[in-house]
Amino acid sequence: GESVGLHLPTLSVQEGDNSIINCAYSNSASDYFIWYKQESGKGPQFIIDIRSNMDKRQGQRVTVLLNKTVKHLSLQIAATQPGDSAVYFCAESSNSGYALNFGKGTSLLVTP
């Protein structure tokens, strides 16, 4: 079936470096792509989203890039901080309000 998946299960970066988390998707009909952060013992927390008619969107210290040609999504975190350590999930939805289809998650570990 359609899936959203992640290239790497774990990523370790040094504090202050930039992080890039990647995600591949297969559903061409997806309209929204969203990144969520999940800290230990907590529910997923929205970070940023991008619609399928865009290729880049920036937030505070985060940038999401969408490449529809190769069905690839990435999350870039600038100047990674220890508080960024968490599991990051990409998710897709065919429309706002509809079910989120989550990928498997990448664990980001920020070392001092």
Binding site: G43, P44, F46, D49, S93, G97, L100
Partner: protein, 114 residues
């Protein structure tokens, strides 16, 4: 900041028993969801609820599951006869309205079926 609250935080139940997981979504939100996450795995969609009815459900959400919004503030997930494989973290989420994508998730209820 408004938040989605879930109770209990941890529920242990015997196989075959009924459980009810409770959620209080953010008060002005219109869309409500249940997701589950088996330990170490991805978050999986169960059901969405809008205008007092189910709007979408996954294959996981079979007739052992039901949802209800009994009083305009609580949103519940009932599992009629729990199985071992129902053990997971269950997350409730709410969304303000169509046209936005920022769904707010609760802290989750860890369900352990023994």
């Amino acid at each position: 900041e408004p938040e989605v609250t879930q109770t209990p935080s941890h529920q242990v139940t015997q196989m075959g028993q009924e459980v009810i997981l409770r959620c209080v979504p953010i008060s002005n939100h219109l869309y409500f969801y249940w997701y589950r996450q088996i330990l170490g795995q991805k978050v999986e969609f169960l059901v969405s609820f809008y205008n007092n009815e189910i709007s979408e459900k996954s294959e996981i959400f079979d007739d052992q599951f039901s949802v209800e919004r009994p009083d305009g503030s609580n949103f519940t997930l009932k599992i009629r006869s729990t199985k071992l494989e129902d053990s997971a973290m269950y997350f409730c989420a709410s969304l303000l309205t169509r046209g936005v994508t920022e769904a707010f998730f609760g802290q989750g209820t860890r369900l352990t079926v023994v």
